[in-house]
């Protein structure tokens, strides 16, 4: 069965989600629930650190799509950092870099919130 895990940190007003494992149709609800909870608590400055993400399918990408408008309507954003090349390739194929901040590393992602 696919394994996926989220560890949460905060830095100033930014919530950093370190994600590990495989994000597919089976594990996408784990990320979805996390984002829902953050939005409810109005923690809408979010960095997703994908250094531990080994795999993503469109079901995983769909989670980012489903909540970005809610987050931006509250003046927040999701910045995505540290993706492995094979994972970035899936984001890129579907045109995500034109609408999302996808950056090389976490420091750069945090800078974009300043």
């Amino acid at each position: 069965m696919s394994k996926f895990e989220i560890r949460k940190r905060t830095q100033s007003e930014v919530t950093i989600l370190d994600i590990y494992g495989e994000l597919d149709a089976h594990t996408a609800p784990i990320l979805e629930n996390e984002l829902k909870q953050l939005i409810e608590k109005k923690y809408v400055h979010i960095v997703v650190n994908g250094s531990g993400l080994e795999y993503i399918s469109s079901a995983g990408l769909g989670v980012f799509m489903a909540y970005i408008e809610d987050i931006r309507s509250q003046n927040g954003d999701i910045k995505i950092a540290n993706l492995k090349p094979k994972v970035f390739n899936v984001f890129d194929l579907l045109g995500f870099p034109t609408l999302y901040d996808i950056v090389d590393n976490e420091e750069e992602a945090l800078t974009r919130f300043k």
Binding site: M1, S58, A59, V63, M65, E69, K86
Partner: protein, 139 residues
């Protein structure tokens, strides 16, 4: 006639099986001599096709059958995925645009787009109550 090596995986329709499906496809694609980038592409496309069967053809009903067949013919891998659910009509498919999907909070349609982009050829067949997706990728 070139020799044909075939491998079959029979599973029940559940997202719990996706990891097993990916491992099956990646292992055989590697044995067939594909490079890592192609292995990732083929594996993703089979995941996307099976996820669509689970969500749309079987509408999340567990226990329904999915058969995945892999065959190597010459330098080409043929992936055949068979289900007995609601047929997919490829003519009704519209390529989603990210801006529209975001405004509608719609997240469907990207699996088919990835399959079209990453595989060399894809076709959908419907015979009586049996649906077949056939996808090929050259080595």
């Amino acid at each position: 006639m070139p020799s044909i090596k075939e491998h079959t995986l029979r599973i029940s329709a559940s997202t719990e099986e996706l990891e097993k499906i990916r491992r099956f496809v990646a292992d055989h694609a590697r044995k067939f001599g594909f490079g890592e980038a192609d292995i990732s592409d083929i594996t993703l496309c089979v995941d996307e096709a099976c996820t669509n069967i689970i969500k749309h053809a079987y509408q999340w009903k567990k226990g329904k059958p999915i058969h995945i067949q892999l065959a190597m013919k010459g330098n080409e891998m043929l992936v055949t995925i068979i289900d007995e659910g609601k047929p997919f009509d490829p003519d009704s498919y519209q390529v989603p645009t990210l801006e529209e999907q975001l405004s509608r909070k719609n997240r469907s349609g990207y699996g088919i787009l990835l399959i079209r982009k990453l595989m060399d050829h894809v076709e959908y067949l419907n015979r009586k109550s049996r649906n077949e997706i056939r996808m090929t990728k050259k080595r």
